[in-house]
């Protein structure tokens, strides 16, 4: 890669990446009631990370975010499977989900669903898979 002065790209990236990441988290959490969910949330997160890689180069971002994305994908899968296995503890069939409303100080009443944990699994897998694929192909000589 040739060296250029891409000051504008880097400055906008540092701003946009955080907006993207925030939006991704919103998509993930809002998925149960509005358009969104683990899949699209994961893709947007991946887009933000790819953007950072493009702006700052592989070496720097690898240092800043020291995550092994293959492991991340597997962790996501593990979370998803464990939410399924967890329902055995309550004598329910595999992947039974439940939800409830809880009152928290400061936040007020919030709906918590076990499906959310499953979605987090999906989210991690998608992030891990997408980044693994893109980085591997991009770095291949």
């Amino acid at each position: 890669m040739y060296k250029t002065n891409d000051l504008i790209l880097r400055t906008t990236t540092s701003l946009i990446a955080f907006i993207l990441l925030g939006f991704a988290v919103y998509l993930l959490l809002a998925g149960h009631n509005s358009p969104g969910g683990g899949f699209i949330g994961g893709l947007v997160t991946a887009a933000a990370i790819v953007l950072m890689y493009m702006a700052y180069g592989i070496n720097l971002i690898d240092k800043i975010i020291p995550i092994n994305y293959r492991t991340l994908a597997l962790i996501g899968l593990l979370i998803a499977v464990l939410t399924g296995v967890g329902s055995f503890l309550f004598n329910e069939p595999f992947l039974s989900q439940t939800f409830g409303y809880f009152h928290f100080p400061f936040f007020g009443e919030i709906e918590l669903a076990t499906a959310m944990i499953f979605d987090v699994g999906v989210y991690f897998t998608v992030v891990g898979v997408t980044i693994t694929i893109i980085l591997n192909i991009a770095n291949d000589q």
Partner: protein
Amino acid sequence: MLFAVLLPLLFAILVPMLSKWKHKIHTGIFVFFIPFLIFLYFIRFVGNDFTPVRQVYNWIPSLGINFDFYLDGLSLLFVLLISGIGSLVVFYSIYYLHVSERLGSFYVYLLMFMTAMLGVVLSDNLFVLYTFWELTSISSFLLIGYWHYRERSRYGAQKSMLITVFGGLSMLGGFILLTVITGTTSIQEMITQTDLILSSDYLPLIMGLILLGAFTKSAQFPFHIWLPDAMEAPTPVSAYLHSATMVKAGIFLVARFSPIFATYEWFFIIVSIVGIATLCWASYMAVRQTDLKGILAFSTISQLGMIMAMLGFGTKAAIFAAIFHILNHATFKGSLFMVAGIIDHETGTRDIRRLGGLLTVMPITATLAVFGTFSMAGIPLPFLNGFYSKEMFFEATLHLNEVVNPIANVIIPLIPYLAVFGSIFTFVYSMYFFFGVFTGPKQFDKLKIKPHEAPIGMLVSPIILVVGVVFIGLFPNSVNGTFLIHAAEAVNNAVEIKDIHFWHGWIPPLFMSLAVVGIGALLYLTREKWSNVYHVLPGKMSMNKVYDGLVKNVDTFSTRLTNTYMTGSLKTYMSIILGTIIFVTFIVMISTNGFNMEFNNLAEVTWIELAVVVIIIIAALATMFTTSKLGAILITGVVGYGVATLFVIYRAPDLALTQLVIETVSVALFLLCFYHLPKLEKRKESTGSKLNNMIISIGFGALMTLIAISAHSTEWFDPISDYFIETAYKLGGGHNVVNVILVDMRGLDTLFEIAVLGIAALAIFSLIKLRKDKEAE
């Protein structure tokens, strides 16, 4: 009885261990006791007051398949032949096979064969019979290919396997039909239902299939060709399998089933014609052979043809003669094979043109050969058993049952002449065998080994068999009442005991015999003069050519066929797959009246949908005609975004979001990958291939469109989406129905989809990081 049948097989397990000591004790010595014990076990049943014995051992009772052993006179005759000649052959092989050979394999195969053969003749259950039948084919295959380093052995083994297994499978088809019709798997019960079988529409098919099995196994014309090639086996094997036992399995089968089929006129016609044809053709061909075992092989074929013909005649006298000849043939042919083996062993060749004048150096062998060959020729001497059965054969040809059938009426008067014709050639090759080997000029300098008399151990078995020949010749009535009559009874009920006499007076059979000897002697002496006849018939035509051509052509044909569609070109495979889908789906849809066009249940088309669709269509067409690869990728992206727009229009926000991001990611990936690929070039294709592609793609698109319209026009069930919409919040706690379905109601699908993603990522990682050529660098 089960133990007696399985004893050889069980003992075969021990043989490999015993063969480790083969340098101290020849393995055959241990093996010898097995057939001998079986012989002793079964000889107890012989007697004038013999009655059939039945024993049943369960195997698969739910399917009616059991070890159902039925020992009647016919089985007893065969069982004694198998175990008796088996003992002699094993004894002979002790001296014939050197300890440097693979003795373990030899005796394992031989014992396996013995069990199989005992099973065939004792089974009353059709399917158990079939099991043992195929085991004889397999063990015969192994024994013919015993010297597997020889090309001819492998060829012979393959040939016999292909032909006998072909017959065996046809026979299985016949058995299944019989079982379906009668509802039983027992042969004896089937015999009681003969009328039912004879009235069945499938009778010709059943009989044809079963006879095909019998004819291939017993080397009947035109399936006889495997037997001469099976002579590549060690001589004890030829003596045992290919003269005395296995080739008689087909005879046994015909005899076993003749109580059922005998009254069917086509049984008489087919079996008689095939038998007589085999007799004449094989005895004619035997004279042409130069290999001793080749002569004996064709001789065996012709003798089997004679027995088969007598079974076909079906008269009481003929059946009795057939049974008698089975016994006689086993004795003299077994001894002749052993004689041929001795000559081979002591002179190093079996080529009759290089042999001659052995009478003085091998007097004992020569004496044995005299009895064997003269008995085979049917020379009227009171101490040769072959004469008795041959004369009974002549007599039987003269007194055939009348059958009202135009074909039968033509052949019945011809049979005696054909029988004499075949017997004349039998006489010629018998004389040729004896005088060609033992008299004439001595040419020992051409031989590898200086000829000398065989060791005594090798002579014991043929001596016993020749003693049998002479004994039956001198006292033919001794075997008559004890078991011949019981065997004949099993084939054809109520056979009166007939005394066998040497002298019947001046009756036609005697004249026939004398004619055979007279003309035969004349033909033998003038053999050189008429041997040119073989250039005319068979000349260049032979069943071997047919077989070889068949095997070769099937091979080349299938290679060619495979090459036409296995081109290695993915394009061809795609057109085959898509073409098949179009063809099959279209036929199914037409035949089930599946195309259903209804347009009354449609939503209104808005201009915005129309605009998006037109853009998508233009983009899709453009990808086909663009020559730039980057252009193609970007235009594909247009299609993807167009689809995303459609999702927006059709109010699928989740899908639209995902489609947008996925489309972007995949376009980016395409760009990354295609960057490294060579430039897209204008594909040079013939117009035919282009036309083919066009027809298939348009056809496929049209078919899918039709199916989509038909599917939309047909509504058999109410959609379940109402349930999801109603219960998404109540049960899943979410307002986003799509997401609730994905993570809650159908969570399992999502789980495996992310597993697919994970696998894809790992696969791409391994493809890129773990390349072989990368390691090599």
